[in-house]
Symmetry: C2
Subunit: 641 residues, 2 copies
């Protein structure tokens, strides 16, 4: 880790405390709490009084300040103030305090206030010491911006030119849209319509009037879609992806250089002279390894040493020492062939003939096929109507069968290796089956006690039942490799998830300030007449209200997130255009700016980053060759066997 | 070119004739004619009698047969039958003849016949000798299929599991959609709806009933979109792209190997012994170069020779000889500083002081800025209402200004270099301005003669006026580089265009057979009552008819192509789902299969190939380093200067 800290005993103790997992957990907890405050603040999903949210926020801020002071004690003073992320955190805390003061006093005197500092909250997620990956992603976006900007300007220019052409071609033809409004007569409207066409949301509606009037006008729109939707959007992808790769490579190079530098430093400290050249002897090396990775096994450590010290001289030179960090990163799965506990407890019984037969049966391929078949049958049963008593009783049979499978496997294989860390599917199976058993029992108990079935419990039962079917994927080898690749993408997706939460949160907070309570949602069984126009007379008879979109609103943070996700899935900007039109109707046409900005930031930049992430991860998975070090470790292992 | 031909004088003459550009032109003309026949055949855009289309098709087939016989004469007999593409062409011709015979006789006896062989027509485009690139693309798709298949199966499995879950969760809740039909009660309908959700077309409509009933159900859809729309779709992209790169690399390797093999062969023929080692002397080399590229200039040839023969020995060895093909591929732009013709004709006048001043003025940067400003002003004028006499007269002023610019430039720079092949923008400017001048004059003449303005002429005038504005892009350097990259992608796009035409044509022909005349389009001013339901009572009161989509039909080849393009731009599957629903209403629910198949082929496979094309082209442009040969040529040029 790239942190300089003072090399006094006290400094090291502070540093270790700072990096303690408990401290990290507490920090993340308070960050999430801080972000979650939006649920309780006005406009709230669950309203809480102002003093409660203020108190919670103050506690969060205190924790962040404490963490920052701790960090300041760990690293030298001038280093602390050179780091942008620390300055950011200090600024955010100060601004938040100022905002709380202003808002509090405004409220106290009955004025209307805006909690603008809420926009800054997600930045805590980026600027804490552990947000390294997210910061790297943001840095990569920032570095991509100049290049994107020029392509974007060209893209906008192309839209403007096409709009001008559309105005000249269609403006005077007195065409009408399907709604009866004049078609393509105002330049700004055309620009917006054509921008939406890039997201292909309003196609073919936008071209139908022109297409109906003449065949040749379809050419105009085809050309437009070709150039702006396909070519330009893919050029955006190419630019983002290319820059992402370039910057990633540079960052990696820097990291490797820093690591090398530190290892050289460590070598300088540990070195002893031996025959004129500096070396590190085995005892020092052992001490170091034990310090860095306390949970490493002795045999593992000796294996690594024998890789470094090939000639068994008892000491290693600089080159071999520098490998240490990479060596420690190689995961070695210790496949201990444990003896089954039953064998130690009841050796006679476990080794008897029938017991052996059972084990052989379980290990046989047919066992897997039989259970695959059972899963398929189960799927059919799930598809059938569960009101039928035969079906609902069959469920018990399936549960018993699945339990039996797990027990048989536990009997055959050692429980410790069955539940080892890398056996994802075993864990998955067991948890799902036990949960299903519990849920089904609860459901049955509820039903037989008062004849009433709880929908929530039933939902859980159903979900668990269906999830059980996923297991079949594990039986096909090709599927397994795809799934494994997907699982390996996991960490990247988490980084990306933080990225998107930051962006969503900011847009959600701004959106809530602008659009809150403009559109109201009424429960489907409500009888209020306002239900037909989402509680806003301006929406009377609009497509927004007719499509029953009232729930898509900015009235609380959860609704906002769902709405923004709908907007991200641009493709139905048809709906989105509808959504946008709904919001512009209740406020002002300028509200379009908010939605266009969201589209640019999220779809053009962020989503392309996601594509770059996934493409890169896949290519790495596909082309991953074993490194030299890995091969030499493997060679050693084979020698030892 | 990878063609083996007999090495007799007659064989070479035949081979040269076969590759003559005139012959290629004729072949392509007849292929396009053959494809265009669909415009005139039933269901026709412009109906022609059956004998006319049959005659045209027979002529096309005769031409293709002739071409094939010619090819068979060029290459050895057994080679000819080993080549799949020749066998394909023979088969297609035979099948087409059989089909024509059957269809003709069916028609003659008044039966209903299907011209099924029309599906095969686009394959001519793939299987002619020159369709190398398209064949390569198809081969790459074929090689990608197995890998895609497994991901696709997993994807379908995921949809099935989610559908089952949806059925269990929502089936019993008695929810209703916005149209009042029961929500998510039939398994197959759910599968279809969720498949459409992958294209994100029916979101958020498909989730609104569930979302309205509870917040938590939104989670189900969010998870679904995340997994199936994002992860799986990008995995498809990654798999296609990865395989495309892999196969491209292999094909390139093979090509390079074949080229090397041929050059070694050529060396073997031309070699003479010199001091024990085989060499090629300059005269032979010169002969060869002149034969291969007759239009190469002497100085260019000598430059290349001096690169090969660095030590000026008068002969070159094998290694230097093998470079020849690469050397000839390096484009060298001869920048001859021609003397301006006016200077040779009127030297006194052209060299006079005022004339010099004009030249300096034109070459000054400010000249460019002034014209950029004029273009911006022009854009504003175009945006204004052209009914105003001031504006329409200003148009003449602008035309004069633009003409003046071109004339001034021609006066300053030599016309031959101004119109040289690489000056794209000069050509563009001149053509646009002269066309605009002609069109505006015609328009003015028409108007003043009988006071009547032709809409068509006016359209052309408008388009030309707007196109003039594009010129401003050339003034910004960063834009110019982007545009240049885009222009370089051109050839790849043409290959891709052929690919997509083949696929579209097949789907269009099949679609026409299934859906022709089911949906009728009436001109907007028609008063037929059938207009409200597209001439099909089944469509009465459906969203398809209400949205005025009647023109989206399969009644002729052009409409089919437009419709398929609309379907390709999946994003508005909202509309697309509407389109699909329209077609299923008039036929049968099974028609959905046609549309889903189209989506899989075009969007999942073909469009991802396009992305791969563009990404790869961009990366190549960005990372293109000059090859060794290019540097050595450049060094020589500098030495010579």
């Amino acid at each position: 880790r790239n942190v300089c800290f003072e090399k006094t005993p006290q400094g090291i103790r502070l540093y270790n405390l700072y990096n303690h997992w408990g401290m990290l957990l507490v920090t993340y907890f308070f960050i999430i709490l801080d972000l979650a405050l939006a649920v309780f603040e006005d406009p709230a999903l669950i309203p809480l009084p102002l003093w409660a949210t203020f108190l919670a926020e103050l506690i969060c801020l205190a924790v962040f300040t404490g963490r920052l002071v701790h960090f300041a004690k760990v690293i030298p003073w001038q280093k602390f103030w050179k780091d942008t992320k620390n300055i950011c955190v200090v600024l955010i805390i100060l601004l938040t305090l100022v905002d709380m003061l202003i808002y509090g006093s405004m409220k106290a005197f009955g004025y209307y206030g805006v909690r603008w500092s809420r926009v800054l909250r997600p930045l805590f997620l980026v600027n804490i010491t552990e947000g390294r990956q997210v910061r790297r992603a943001f840095r990569s976006i920032r570095n991509t911006l100049p290049e994107i900007l020029y392509v974007f300007l060209l893209f906008i220019f192309s839209i403007l030119i096409f709009s001008l052409m559309a105005l000249k071609l269609f403006g005077k033809r007195k065409l009408v849209t399907n709604e009866g409004t004049p078609y393509f007569t105002s330049y700004l409207d055309i620009v917006f319509e054509l921008y939406v066409l890039v997201t292909t949301a309003n196609s073919p509606d936008v071209m139908m009037p022109a297409y109906n009037s003449s065949f040749f006008f379809a050419l105009f729109f085809i050309l437009y879609i070709l150039i702006n939707t396909y070519i330009f959007m893919y050029v955006f992808l190419a630019v983002v992806y290319n820059n992402y790769r370039k910057h990633l490579k540079e960052e990696m190079k820097n990291l490797v250089r820093a690591k090398r530098h530190k290892m050289v430093e460590a070598f300088r400290i540990l070195q002893v002279k031996h025959g004129g050249e500096p070396v590190v002897c085995q005892s020092h090396w052992n001490q170091l390894v034990r310090l860095v990775q306390p949970d490493i096994s002795n045999s593992h450590r000796e294996l690594l040493w024998s890789v470094c010290d090939e000639d068994k001289k008892g000491f290693i030179g600089k080159v071999a020492f520098l490998q240490l960090a990479d060596l420690l990163n190689i995961q070695i799965i210790t496949l201990k062939s444990h003896i089954h506990p039953l064998q130690t407890w009841f050796p006679h019984l476990y080794n008897s003939h029938p017991s052996r037969l059972v084990c052989q049966m379980v290990q046989h391929k047919a066992f897997v096929y039989v259970y695959d078949f059972i899963i398929v049958v189960n799927a059919v049963f799930i598809g059938l109507d569960e009101e039928n008593p035969l079906i609902s009783n069959a469920e018990w049979a399936f549960l018993v069968l699945y339990m039996l499978e797990i027990l048989l496997k536990l009997y055959t294989y050692d429980p410790r290796s069955f539940f080892s860390r890398h056996k994802f599917w075993n864990w998955f199976d067991t948890i799902i089956i036990i949960a299903a058993l519990v849920a089904t029992t609860v459901n049955f108990a509820l039903k037989s006690s008062d004849g009433y079935t709880s929908r929530q419990v039933l939902d859980i039962v159903f979900i668990l039942r269906v999830l059980r079917l996923i297991r079949i994927v594990d039986s096909v080898k090709r599927f397994r490799t795809i799934i494994n690749t997907l699982i390996k993408i996991g960490p990247t997706i988490i980084t990306f998830g933080q990225l998107i939460i930051v962006v969503y949160y900011i847009f959600a907070v701004v959106g809530m300030e602008i659009f809150k309570d403009k559109i109201k949602f009424f429960a489907p069984d409500s009888t209020a007449s306002a239900q037909n126009y989402c509680g806003n007379p301006l929406l009377k008879d609009t497509a927004f209200a007719q499509n029953n979109y009232c729930r898509n609103n900015f009235n609380d943070i959860v609704s906002s997130f769902v709405l923004l996700l709908e907007l991200t899935v641009v493709n139905q900007w048809h709906a989105c255009a509808l959504l946008t039109s709904g919001f512009t109707t209740v406020t002002h046409t300028a509200a379009r700016i908010f939605f266009v900005l969201f589209h640019i930031v999220v779809v053009i930049i962020i989503m392309n980053i996601l594509v770059a992430f996934i493409l890169e991860a896949f290519f790495v998975e596909y082309t991953l060759a074993k490194s030299d070090l890995q091969t030499s470790v493997e060679k050693k292992i084979q020698e030892l066997e």
